[in-house]
Amino acid sequence: MRYSSVYLLCVPALVLVGLLLAAPLYSTVAQTFGGEVALFGRYGAFFENAFNRDVFFRTLKIALITTVIAAALGYPTAYFISQAGPKWRSLLILCAVLPLLTSSVVRSFSWIVILGRKGSVNTLLMKLHVIDAPLRLLFNEISVVIGLTYLFLPLMILSLVGVMENIEDDLMDAATSLGAPRIKAFFAVIVPLSLPGLVVGAVLVFTGSLTSFTTPQLLGGDGSTVLSTLIFRQAMVLFDWDGAATIATMMVVLTLSVITAINMAARRLNPAA
């Protein structure tokens, strides 16, 4: 077999990607510029509407908050897992990914049970007399953030553990022997060296949260519409396919710009990565 013919092996995958990804993407983007409107007319119209603007910034805000919380919770967890012995490590990783094995619908529903008026959280707080009346924990931005964090935390942990495992143990010892207390050594050595894992994790969590549909649909209320649920409404309730395509295109652009921004920030912090 000639070497170049090896490339032929890629053809089936390329055809599949072309048919299922590139073509629909092209037609979606093309649709937003078609018809009797000015060049960016549909985008302008979208942002003229105050409700749409709120949805846009809320989506961005929820995705960012989820990413930050997932990073804050995932970082120590991942470090702990990476420092555990080999036996414990596999067990802990299994525990971390276990939620990924159930459907996101089921996982979102479980939060309805936990956060509802008569859910476990409210019942417990009432019993302890911390509160008199049940808190409104469900169908708002908080419940969406909680649901999304729960959904995507494993991805953050996994990408961090992968990187942290490969940081040489001797580096922490080297830093402490040179006079750095453990906590300072952690920030001087582990943090910069695990940045690539944080970037991958952040990108996964951010894009996942930005585009997720089930969780905001089930856990969000009328006041917490996000772009994905808005697309659903435009397309399936209002049958405004042009409008839905416009929002979809914006989400793609938004995702790509945030990924670029995160990457650039990471490169500035750590030129070696």
Partner: protein, 354 residues
């Protein structure tokens, strides 16, 4: 400059006991090596000294001060790792400056001292290079500079040269010794390379399975090993069980199980219990079969011959078992030849047989 003392150190990983009642003293300004086979606990000992590993019991003292529970960042020891452990995200300058910055040394002085140290180890030209883009020898120098620049009270090396090629190893070990003497730093050096160890150390500690077998000057370890283990380690290959039969002509008179007589110089003290005589392959004289009845004569026949480049090595079958003997180039013996071996009295070392 301070003296390091280890007192009855016991250390383990989990339930696995690695060091047992280890005593060691490194005197002021001395260069002491820990020599031993892979897995005998050399790195573990260094890690206890550095404070990376907490000993189960026993004490680490520096100049009489108890360091046992002091965290590594407050010990002020320089540690050179086998893997170098350079910070891959920092350049050469920042790697070397790391320790000074932890000590809140002023910016200007950090610059001056780091540049000075890079000059000393010959890396001034590479100061802005990322550490992961360096060659093995260059990394080794950075690691050395990084440990030296903090003016450590004690310098610890864990097989620092094992990843370098043979030529560079010799060059670097001379350099390490030169710097150690120039800065007069008390040093504990781990290696499993005998030659390296003997060539640069003031004293050598031979370790076996978590205990110290002998602590002595390199020349003594080489000529007067204190245990069968050390003897084997430094190249004694022939051992016979002996019985002591008193003194005569100012020499120890000894006899082997088959009646062969041996003599040994009286400067050797006789260990109690069972005796073992140890002889190097090159110490035994090999000649054609001819008995004179003198002590130290063994009859045998050549069982096997290998060429060493400089002379031959023979495995000789004797009543005392198979002995390893080195012979000259001129008239090699052939397999099956009957020969007589002579062990000169002053070439036999007497050991207690554990």
């Amino acid at each position: 400059m301070p003296t390091l003392e280890l007192r009855k150190i016991c250390a383990s990983y989990g339930d696995n006991r690695i060091l047992t009642d280890l005593d060691l003293e490194v005197a002021d300004g001395d260069f002491v090596s820990l020599l031993g086979e892979s897995g005998c606990g050399k790195t573990t000992t260094l890690r206890v000294v550095a404070g990376f590993l907490r000993a189960d019991s026993g004490g680490v003292l520096l100049d009489g001060e108890d360091y046992t529970r002091r965290p590594p960042n407050r010990r002020g020891f320089g540690y050179v790792f086998q893997s170098y452990a350079l910070f891959p995200h920092l350049n050469v300058f920042d790697n070397v400056a790391f320790g000074l910055r932890q000590r809140k040394v002023a910016r200007e002085e950090v610059r001056r001292r780091v540049d000075e140290m890079l000059e000393v180890v010959g890396l001034a030209a590479l100061r802005d290079r990322l550490s992961k883009s360096l060659s093995g020898g260059q990394k080794q120098r950075v690691a050395l500079a990084r440990a030296l620049v903090i003016k450590p009270d004690l310098l610890l090396f864990d097989e620092p040269l094992s990843n370098l090629d043979a030529k560079l190893r010799v060059k670097m070990r001379v350099e390490i010794r030169r710097l150690q003497q120039e800065f007069k730093i008390t040093t504990l050096y781990v290696t499993h390379d005998q030659e390296e160890c003997f060539s640069i150390s003031d004293k050598v500690t031979v370790m076996n399975d978590g205990v110290i077998e002998q602590f002595d000057r390199p020349e003594h370890i080489f000529s007067q090993p204190a245990s069968p283990f050390v003897a084997r380690f430094v190249g004694f290959e022939n051992f016979f069980q002996l019985r002591h039969q008193g003194m005569s002509d100012g020499r120890h008179q000894l006899v082997a199980a088959d009646g062969t007589k041996f003599e040994a110089p009286d400067r050797q003290t006789i260990p109690g219990g069972r005796l073992l005589g140890a002889v190097r392959p090159e110490a035994i004289a090999l000649g054609p079969a001819a008995r004179t009845g003198q002590a130290g004569e063994i009859a045998g026949s050549i069982a096997f011959r290998t060429y060493l480049g400089r002379g031959y090595q023979y495995i000789v079958q004797t009543a005392l078992g198979d002995l390893t003997v080195n012979g000259e180039d001129q008239q090699p013996f052939a397999t099956g030849d009957t020969v007589t071996l002579r062990v000169p009295p002053d070439r036999m070392v007497l050991l207690g047989d554990a």
